[in-house]
Amino acid sequence: MFDLQSFLNELWIARWAVLFGLGTTVAISALAIVFGSIVGTLVGLALTYGGRFLRLAVRAYTDFVRGTPVLVLVLASYYVMSTVGINLTPFQAGVLALAVFCSSHVGEIVRGALQAIPKGQMEAAKAIGLTFRQTFLWVLLPQALRQILPTWVNTAAEMVKASTLLSVIGVSELLLRTQEIISRNFLSLEFYFFAGALYFVINFGIELFGKYVERKTAVAGQG
């Protein structure tokens, strides 16, 4: 039986735990998405414009990461990094694993979008005298962005969902906090549902952000 009164009561008691969990989830996801997108953009650039050796190396990186379950990446960045002398907190290890995962996906998205831009765009920019950096910033990226955005939103949402895996290395993100709360009050249905709703809200926010940027970058005269 769903008892709203007792759920609200328990929620009030657990309010700080829920908030901290939510904050941790948002922080981890945001950091992973930001770093992953920056590195991913470089990955996409390397895959599209890099020399043969660089392309091969970066291709190996993305294929390896994409072929590995995220949970394995999470465990590896926590347990394996320490064996080579890099001691990361669970939070840091979690951000690293998700950022790496994110970068390989964003890299593919960026590569696809850049390769879809006609060669003439780069040549026209060169002919004016723009350097590669200027060409990328002012000619290629704005055009690629419109193709990147919808898929990028999906990837960002995937990162938020994947952040739940960090509970296995003891990061007190929303899911782990929720489980702790439930172990005290046994309101599993209510609290899992509530946590689910919070994840939905985060991802809905990402989607709104994506729509907003899409509107901002829309161009007249283009289908």
Binding site: P118, A124, K126, A127, I128, G129, L130, F132, G221, Q222
Partner: protein, 255 residues
Amino acid sequence: MSSLLEIQGLHKRFGTTEVLKGVDCAVRQSEVVAIIGSSGSGKTTLLRCINMLEDFQAGRIVLDGEEIGYETRDGVRRRKSEKEIARQRALTGMAFQQFNLFPHLTAAENVMLGLVKLKRMSRDEARTLAMRWLDRVGLAERADHFPGQLSGGQQQRVAIARAIAMQPKLMLFDEVTSALDPELVGEVLQVIKGLAADGMTMMLVTHEMRFAHEVAGRVIFMNGGVIGEEGNPKKMFLAPQTERLAEFLKSSSFN
């Protein structure tokens, strides 16, 4: 009489195929040179080498006293730095067959980009200058349209405005009317004629023989990667010296 552009022994290979097999030519200040020749003879490649859109394996291109793209030190030929090549590319302007306007920018913004990013103008200054050039190609009232909202002829005129706004020493036109519907060709040729009358130095690859005859001071006939024949248009078109040119002229309609 010194030349603005001097090309000596230009050789260009794509892999193992040699496309330019030793091109020598010179262009004087304010001269208009038309380049004709059958498809695959190396006309586009020649222009692209001058603008360093293609690397080349041997020869020298000197523009206004500057060697383009390469330098030779201690007997070793080296490609210049990317930054230096970018600067040199701005010395020449290029208009392409496919216009290549930036689709996410308005006509005015297309013209402004180089002015703001390279000439370091403020947006206001750049806008004023862009409007002047758009007016010059007859498109001032289309300044805030995106390329997708313009006809092919209008797009090509914007592309020409974008190139000349950078005040290049030399303009390169590569078959700028071949992608246009016949009724739009005239407006673009008109713009080029105006620039020629203003004393702009230019090399233009064209299939419009009548136009070449009208506007060019000299015609170069490319044939199999070398200059087959060159001279003033009247002599070239009326009394071709080589069998090849005579054949080419016969096969191309003089419309």
